[in-house]
């Protein structure tokens, strides 16, 4: 292959790296109104009176909107294909406010200072209710987060809003209770994963204006332009045809921008005033008024037979979706979907549990999307099981994991077509010198090093739902335009998709212009989320390029007056295979643009898949723990990856390194903390600590490619799977170092130290008791 498999730089690299104005806030027109959101200071309250008169009268204030001014139609802000599997439980502004930071009023003014001043002049009286702040007691709490009767769901996912339950979920194959009874060894543990923040560097932002035909044009830093268009159509009660969404360069998304966060506020201001409007969230709003990863409690029971085969897997979960249910049911389902298939020597598996409303910031999409939470729980339990069975943790996995060609435990009709996970484990084990280092080594100065491991899978797109299209046009100078609706948020997807097109057409990437994304222009694509772009959009691009190549051959043959079978296309010219006659691509292109009956050549491709092929990773961690202080240093992290064929090795490697570090953040540093009134305490980078370059140890990434027959050139996804292994692998390494099993993320030095002291005290007590008993006997 000429282009696929090459580490080409991103096509937008130099512009974005050197600060060219290509992001949303760089493109705003000068006269746009500045929109600010007045927010609730209460976790749960009802607005009794809201007086905006004084604020309205302030010079420079253009528009103040309250719940009285917005359509009374509920919708979801989850960026999912329609009909969305998330409850329609939101209004643009609601009389009820359900978390500290929930929107109360939209203020638009000529500048930020005026808008901020105006906010301080709005008088509100609330009736304050007792908030639901603990998700473990949310079910059946006397406060009902969503008492309104106009909540709507397209699907019956077991909502019982009077009980604060969004979803009741259960998947079971076989009889788990029975199988657990038959097992030789059973381990059980309850794990907690925290509400991680996406913390992309570019905060949420959008601006919009009315175009020359009165249509609403939205420029937004979003992963989901087509979903934004559709969601806004409902939220604003205007036709989809009246909305255009343009996505410029995005400063990171990580799933956060798979939710409509800000566009509804600017859009309604522009509709009301006719004027351009912009909003830029500050970091505090980004931390505390958007979405985060769903915090979960996951109880795992694993059973194995004497030979060490895992025969039963049972996961019971509880997920905190916060004040609104966007992505609630689906992130929860993914916990089971992306963990249970791993171990398929089972006789019974089950995943069940509930998603509950609380009066906290909503959960949403974040890289990993439930699989991250599930992987921490399941892989931690597998490590515990290995210890109980006295089997090496790598060996228990090699014995039990699904292999290429085998069927899934939860769906025996689906065959795993590509996996090199066994090779990943073997390679990772060598790279970290597992056999020498497992489980731990004592160093001088109270320090001890331990190693740990975990494996994981994700998907590639959403099976039977995602459906993406691509279009390639041959332009009149022999160049190609590739039109995409997928949303490169910095990953380099525009580049790797151009590489795929270039490979099919036998041209270089420089001959392709990529246009993405603009809902007026781009072919439909759900957007870049659910690890879909390489696999789903990638196949659409391959199909579009193949169709165009066929047209080029036929058109060339027609001009050369030979049959299409007699010609070939080498990227520059269409020539007869015997070398007799040829026509340059440029000439062919020129001819297609003039004359009667000629058509510019265009290739279209669409792809949706009945399966979601999983990429895999084996992750290995080595930590150093100080026995005196509990201080944990991550020394080495090794990730061996199966993402199928690698389209662009450097970009794939950075995806892995970036995801591992985000996973290290979740494992060791990042936590969302609320006070007892529901105020988020961790709403800046001062309190919410994402890893800096000093916090990550040495990373080593290796690939063990498999070949996915349904993917473009054999490729699978890479974007999400990368975040899943650090938490369980680091927890395992810490346990192997000092015997402390941290089951509640993050794994901080404080927790480790406290638990070490606990263990010490317990063993002292035990010792004292024995001594005392000894003395008693001697009497």
């Amino acid at each position: 292959m000429n282009t696929v498999g090459k580490s080409l730089p991103k096509i937008d690299a130099i512009a974005i790296a050197t600060g060219k104005p290509v992001y949303t806030d760089d493109l705003v027109m000068n006269n746009a109104l500045v929109v600010k959101i007045l927010r609730s200071p209460h976790a749960f309250a009802e607005i009794k009176t809201i007086d905006t008169i004084e604020a309205q009268e302030l010079k420079g204030v253009e528009c103040i909107l309250t719940y009285l001014d917005v359509p009374k139609v509920r919708f979801t802000v989850a960026g999912q294909s329609y009909p969305e599997p998330s409850p329609y439980d939101r209004l643009i502004l609601d009389k009820m406010v359900r978390y500290v930071g929930d929107a109360v009023a939209i203020v638009a003014a000529v500048d930020e200072q005026t808008a901020v001043k105006a906010m301080s002049l709005i008088n509100i009286q609330y009736e304050v209710f007792e908030p639901v702040l603990n998700f473990e007691t949310a079910q059946g709490h006397r406060s009902i987060v969503h008492p309104e009767d106009d909540i709507y769901s397209h699907f019956d996912f077991g909502m019982n809003k009077e009980m604060n339950i969004v979803t009741s979920h259960k998947v079971e194959v076989g009889d788990v209770e029975q199988e657990l009874q038959n097992c030789h060894v059973v381990v059980e543990e309850t794990y907690y994963t925290q509400a991680q923040a996406q913390a992309m560097m570019e905060t949420y932002r959008a601006f919009n204006y009315l175009d020359h035909t009165g249509r609403l044009v939205i420029v937004s830093s979003t992963q989901i332009p087509f979903h934004v268009r559709r969601i806004l159509s409902r939220a604003l009660q205007i036709p989809i045809s009246k909305i255009r969404v343009i996505k410029p360069r995005i400063g990171g998304g990580f799933g956060g921008k798979q939710t409509l966060v800000v566009e509804m506020y600017t859009a309604i201001v522009t509709l009301k005033t006719g004027k351009p409007a912009k909003i830029v969230y500050d970091r505090k709003e980004t931390f505390s008024c958007t979405t985060s990863r769903h915090a979960m409690r996951l109880k795992v029971r694993l059973g194995a037979d004497k030979e060490g085969f895992i025969r039963a897997v049972d996961i019971e979960g509880l997920s905190d979706t916060g004040a609104y249910g966007e992505h609630g049911p689906t992130t929860f389902a993914v916990v089971g979907d992306k963990t249970l298939p791993l171990y398929n020597k089972t006789k019974a598996v089950r995943f069940m549990g509930k998603v509950v409303y609380t009066n906290k910031m909503p959960g949403g999409a974040l890289r990993g999307y439930g699989a991250t939470q599930g992987t921490f729980a399941l892989e931690s339990a597998v490590n515990k099981l290995a210890e109980k069975l006295n089997i090496d943790p790598a060996e228990i996995r090699l014995k039990n994991l699904i292999q290429e060609g085998e069927t899934y435990s939860i769906n025996v009709n689906t065959i795993l077509r590509s996996s090199s996970l066994y090779r990943c484990i073997e390679k990772g084990r060598k790279l970290i010198s597992w056999d020498e280092k497992y489980p731990s080594r004592e160093l001088a100065n109270h320090k001890v090093r331990g190693v740990g491991m975990a494996v994981t899978m994700q998907g590639s797109g959403i099976a039977n739902i995602d459906n993406a299209s691509a279009e390639i046009r041959l332009q009149d100078d022999g160049y190609f335009s590739l039109l995409l609706g997928s949303t490169d948020m910095g990953t380099g997807s525009d580049t790797i998709l151009a590489q795929m097109a270039a490979e099919v057409l036998d041209i270089s990437v420089e001959n392709i212009i990529v246009n993405a994304a603009d809902t007026d222009v781009s072919p439909y694509d759900p957007g870049s989320y659910a690890s879909s772009t390489t696999y789903v959009t990638g196949m659409a691009v391959v199909r579009a390029a193949e169709e165009l190549k066929g047209k080029i051959l036929r058109q060339g043959a027609k001009i050369l007056e030979v049959s299409p079978e007699e010609v070939e296309f080498n990227g520059k010219e269409i020539r007869m295979i015997d070398g007799n006659k040829s026509i340059s691509l440029k000439r062919l292109a020129e001819l297609s643009f003039i004359g009667v009956g000629n058509l510019p050549l265009v290739g279209n491709g669409t792809f949706g898949s009945p399966i979601s092929p999983p990429p895999f990773i084996a992750g290995f961690a080595e930590v150093e723990v100080d026995r005196e202080t509990g201080k944990i240093d991550l020394i080495d992290y090794i990730a061996v990856v199966d993402c199928g064929t690698i389209i662009n090795p450097n970009l794939a490697k950075i995806q892995v390194e970036g995801g591992i570090v985000q996973g290290i953040g979740m494992a060791m540093y990042e936590d969302v903390i609320y006070d007892d009134k529901g105020h988020m305490q961790t709403n800046s980078f001062m309190q919410y600590k994402i890893p800096s370059r000093k916090d990550i140890g040495r990373l080593q990434v290796a690939f063990e490619p498999s070949f996915e027959p349904t993917g473009p050139f054999g490729a699978k996804s890479i974007g999400e799977v990368v975040i899943n292994t650090p938490a369980p692998a680091i927890a395992h390494a810490v346990y192997n170092a000092v015997g402390v099993r941290v089951t509640k993320l993050p794994i901080t030095s404080e927790k480790v130290l406290m638990e070490m002291l606990n263990l010490k005290e317990k063993s002292m007590q035990l010792l004292n008791r024995k001594e005392w008993r000894g003395k008693e006997c001697n009497k």
Partner: protein
């Protein structure tokens, strides 16, 4: 109020309010390579040079830079592009939102530190956060850029 400053070797007079920060002043003036990411001086995205020293423009009042020399990424276009090509060759530009501030720090480091060790490099750059790359690719690029014994 009115301040006189030198932006990228050009003397300019700017109207600023008393509570205005330099990052906002510079963006208003058209230096759109300056990004803000945190509001708490934690992220390094807004890094410019003040009299040649990397400085967080989000936390210095515009009124206090009267008469001083400010360099933004727009003022070191050639040097920035040289490093950007190396960064891009590693695939470590990613979303790019933190890159201008990061590059300003890298360029300053190159002129400030002679033959730095890996540890010194990491220490110098540690105030520049990045959520995409995991830092390792950035470090590879910096080492290639500095060349010498680091390679």
């Amino acid at each position: 109020m009115e301040i006189g400053v030198i932006i990228n070797n050009e003397e300019v007079t700017l109207q600023v309010s008393a509570d205005e920060f330099l990052a906002d002043t510079l963006r208003t003036y058209g230096m759109l390579g300056i990004r803000k990411g945190c509001d708490t001086t934690s992220c390094g995205l807004c890094t410019v040079w003040l009299d040649g020293k990397p400085t967080l423009s989000c936390s210095i009042l515009s009124a206090r830079v009267q008469g001083r020399k400010i360099t933004t990424i727009e003022g070191v276009e050639k040097e920035a592009a040289e490093f950007a090509h190396i960064l891009a060759a590693e695939g470590a530009d990613q979303c790019g939102f933190c890159s201008p501030g990061f590059i300003m720090t890298v360029l300053a480091m190159k002129s400030e530190l002679k033959n730095p060790t890996e540890e010194e490099i990491v220490h110098y750059l540690t105030g520049n956060l990045c959520r995409c790359t995991g830092y390792a690719g950035q470090l590879r690029a910096v080492k290639k850029y500095l060349g010498g014994s680091l390679l």
